[in-house]
Subunit: 204 residues, 2 copies
């Protein structure tokens, strides 16, 4: 790691703090701190304020758990969306990715992560019971699981599936397969195997 | 550019502000904002404070112009350093780079940039007159120019050289040549040409 003695404790503290951000090493942190020094003080104050206001004043949708300005988020409160179709995702980023496709008209349920005994994350740390409750209240006809593949995601999907069984709701999962434009030759065998097992009728 | 409609104005503002930092695109800015949301509020407050305190409370050495905690920086006030040898650099980053070599025992003079008519930076925007004044006061035997190569750096070096002529101080420039471990084959012709012209006696 690139680490230098800096001539000012203020600068050292700023570099150390900026360096805690994901993907920012010491070198970039120093570059950013020096950049901030050259900016008008109002701009730096705006950045500083935006960061702390985000953390202190953020709210979460009481229905789906997504970041929201109001008690109920813009997606849950949109009457044009199909509230009987609930897609379960790990995080807001997944919501944004699915929204960016423009292919989904249902609503979401943000878990806040996946079950991970190694990281000490159990079912009670995630919004699973609120999902079961939400489905139990009725009005939901299908739950689409869109969690990551891998042991933790699969475990979480299975756990949710078991929890939802008593409600009788239809539980589906997003399709896994060879991506558009991907070469079969370079696709890993698990994905390719799954795409053969999950083959569907050809509709030209 | 990757740009998404975000479900919260607070988040949108934070992402926009973080995205102003050098080398941070919208995607990384979003990743950082979501990371901050998951951190304890004290950590986020510490980051926010460190940034604004740096900008508001930073001081500059009254002798060399480097960032400093006190009126005179740690290098200028170090009696073990040779105060008669002054190395002229563009920025604090160059000071840090030279300090990291452990090969320099003199002091510095931080210009704050180079003369650049395109960016509207003239000699009066840089700490050139304070350098001439500093040398004029006596006690300086050699000024080492360590500015970047290229038209702007060369122009600035020449301008400083001319300004210092009346003081009679010895003006030198750092050596340019083929880097250690570099292949001649892949060295640009200007550097290679300079390294031949500036050849020195071989001392095994």
């Amino acid at each position: 790691m690139y680490k230098q003695k800096l001539p000012s404790a203020l600068l050292e503290d700023a570099v150390a703090q900026i360096g805690m951000l994901p993907g920012i090493g010491n070198r970039s942190a120093l570059r950013m701190a020096l950049y901030l020094l050259r900016q008008p003080v109002e701009n730096v104050r705006h950045l500083s304020d935006a960061i702390i206001r985000l953390r202190e004043n953020v709210r979460y949708c009481s229905v789906c758990g997504m970041i929201s300005e109001n008690d109920i988020c813009s997606i849950c409160s949109d009457s044009r969306r199909n509230a009987s179709l609930v897609c379960v995702v790990e995080s807001l980023r997944d919501v944004l990715s699915i929204e960016a496709t423009g292919q989904y008209n249902g609503v979401y349920h943000v878990l806040g992560g996946v079950i991970s005994p190694i990281d000490g994350i159990g079912p009670s740390d995630l919004s699973i019971s609120s999902l079961v409750e939400r489905v139990g209240k009725g009005g939901v006809s299908e739950v689409v699981l869109a969690l990551s593949t891998g042991v933790e995601g699969e475990t979480t999907s299975y756990y949710i599936y078991r929890q939802l069984q008593s409600t009788g709701v239809k539980v589906t999962a997003i399709a896994r397969g060879v991506g558009f434009g991907d070469e079969l030759e370079y696709t890993d065998e698990v994905t390719l195997g799954r795409s053969i097992a999950d083959r569907r009728e050809f509709r030209p």
